[in-house]
């Protein structure tokens, strides 16, 4: 029996209702509130804010709820909202040395000014399922700890005092904005970093990992990971002075890796940089790895691995692009497929006719 594979408005509206019912789940259970998601699924919210390129925990939590926990879909929702917002201008560069720290570690020095601060991390939890969470038990509160000192200098600054690390890039570069200008290749480093910051965590994680396994020549050390709160400052034209808009929580990763030097530059350490909102620490490390790999051409290193290929890395980093285009395969392609069918039948008919003719020729010869 033929069922028309064409749907109209009624089908679409019904799909909305089914989706809403699926999202709500068992109505006998209490509905999850946006405030709960914001407070208790923080790392999901942080990832959605990072890749959604909008620091708004409440809207990110709403997106997570609306997307039934599908974070790539939640990122899409947040971006589609973000694109409607007006753009006032550029904030001043964040002063991460002045960060109100929640966590700060260095893998390059045993002790550093300001100390090593583990903070909230799953790194040493032993990853045993905690069955107590099945029941509704409240965890023991952390011990009261001394407030962390501020400001704590960045490790890079300390290395720079000895000239062992490349100087930071000139600070007056006008930042790129991929939401206003398309990404063109070759891209400047600010545009690259923006594309990586908006890029899919899984993509960057796999590419960063590949550089550690020999696809690209990376020998990085975590110079520093720091997570905490920093002030966002903005110069309002009307006032002519910097005003503080508020604080955001970020995690910053600075990787240090060797550079052999060349005629102009003595051997020194170079850096890769990663930044994400909230506690998206894995993303920040992966981003720093890929940033360093993409600097290969600039530093005169051979460009041979996928992670060093700027166009390959950046053109495929955005989860909205990737998810949309992969899933567009669900859309009807009747017309193109029909064209292929027609061609295939014609080619097969031609081949069969040709083969038949060849056989007939052979029989005549024999």
């Amino acid at each position: 029996m033929y069922v028309a594979a064409k749907g109209g408005e009624a089908a679409i509206e019904q799909s909305w209702r089914l989706l809403a019912a699926e999202r709500r789940g068992d109505p006998a259970l209490a509905e999850l509130s946006v405030a709960q998601i914001r407070s208790q699924l923080r790392l999901a919210v942080d990832r959605v804010m990072s890749e959604g390129a909008l620091y708004d925990p409440e809207l990110a939590a709403l997106a997570v709820k609306q997307a039934s926990g599908d974070l790539v879909e939640a990122i899409f929702l947040l971006r589609a909202y973000r694109t409607t917002l007006p753009r006032f201008g550029n904030s001043l560069p964040l002063d991460s040395a002045g960060m109100r720290l929640a966590r700060r570690i260095s893998a390059t020095f045993k002790d550093v000014p300001g100390g090593q601060v583990l903070g909230p991390t799953p790194d040493y939890t032993q990853r045993l399922l905690d069955f107590a969470l099945l029941a509704d038990g409240a965890p023991p509160p952390p011990q009261a700890s001394e407030p962390l000192p501020a400001p704590v200098p960045r490790i890079e600054t300390l290395l720079a005092q000895e000239g062992l690390i490349e100087p930071p890039p000139a600070g007056d570069l006008e930042p790129a904005d991929l939401t206003r200008e398309p990404l063109l290749f070759p891209a400047c480093r600010p545009a690259r970093l923006q594309a990586l910051a908006r890029g899919d965590e899984g993509w960057l994680l796999a590419l960063g990992y590949s550089t550690q396994r020999g696809y690209g020549n990376a020998h990085p050390f975590v110079g520093e990971i720091r997570r905490g709160w920093v002030a966002v400052q903005f110069i309002a034209d009307e006032l002519g002075l910097a005003i503080e808009l508020g604080e955001i929580e970020i995690v910053e990763c600075s990787l240090v890796s060797q550079f052999a030097g060349n005629d102009r530059t003595p051997p020194q350490f170079t850096t890769g940089y990663g930044l994400a909102f909230g506690g998206a620490e894995r993303k920040s490390i992966a981003m720093a790895l890929v940033d360093r790999a993409l600097r290969a051409a600039e530093l005169g290193e051979p460009v041979s691995a996928p992670a060093q290929d700027e166009e390959f890395v950046l053109a495929h980093a955005d989860s909205l692009d990737a998810s949309g285009f992969v899933q567009h395969l669900k859309l009807p392609h009747y017309v193109d497929f029909q064209s292929e069918l027609e061609l295939l039948r014609r080619l097969r008919a031609a081949q069969a006719a040709g083969a038949g003719a060849a056989r007939a020729d052979g029989q005549e010869a024999a």
Binding site: K6, T84, T179, F185, E311, D321, Q327, V335, Q338, S339
Partner: protein, 301 residues
Amino acid sequence: MNAAATGYNFAFLDEGTKKMIRRALLKAVAIPGYQVPFAAREMPFAFGWGTGGVQVTASVIGAGDVLKVIDQGADDTTNAVNIRRFFARMTGVRTTERTRQASIVQTRHRIPETPLAEGQILVYQVPMPEPLFRLEPRRQQTIALHALADYGLMNVRLYEDIAQLGAIARTYDYPVRVNGRYLMSPSPIPKFDNPKMDMNPALQLFGAGREKRLYAVPPYTRVESLDFEDHPFQVQRWSQACAWCGARDSFLDELIVDDAGGRLFVCSDSEYCGERRAAGRRGPAPTAARHDPLASVKGPP
């Protein structure tokens, strides 16, 4: 149609963005077939689902326009319905299924069978604007090839098809040369539709949102499908007529109608087929009346 939804600008995009897109379109019209980069916005549709065409339409549509949206030639495919509803909500403009009544036709994968006229705009949704991308995936390279009008790669590709298969094996997204200069992807329309692009009186605009490129074919511009003197370009032909309206000059979709694999060939252009049947034309299928492809959007009379 109801007034536009409140809380959003007319046609969703802010005026600054529309202006940016219209500027890019002006450049595209001035250099037919040339791909103009633009900062495509995130839209409330997934990339790859027509965001480029939607942004173009949103930038050129005005309150007095009449919009038709088709996908695979039909007004009633889900994606066409979705995009049409979006514009109805965001602009309040009148929508139509009649090509002749529309001032803007947004399409995915087809050009309407009904000829377009001066003053009409045909907006194509484009997945991959770069005609050379299967031969050279790097943008930095293809930009240089276009600048030099170096299209040897594509000619060799088509020649290899002939050498190996006896015919050019491109059936859709068949490359064209615009105004004797730029190689252009006509978007994944069947090559059946390619000749309609040539010297078309309507303005043809192409939007690729995910790839962030726009291009255009101005009215009455030469659009040639690539071919060779001894292998001239040919379009698909069917041995059947449309089972519903009897048309022999339209692109036919193949339907599998029963478990035994029975086939039915019908017009992919639902408006064209519907108009012919309204005029009393009938195809060979006795059940044609029960399979009105426009029934679901026509609603009760």
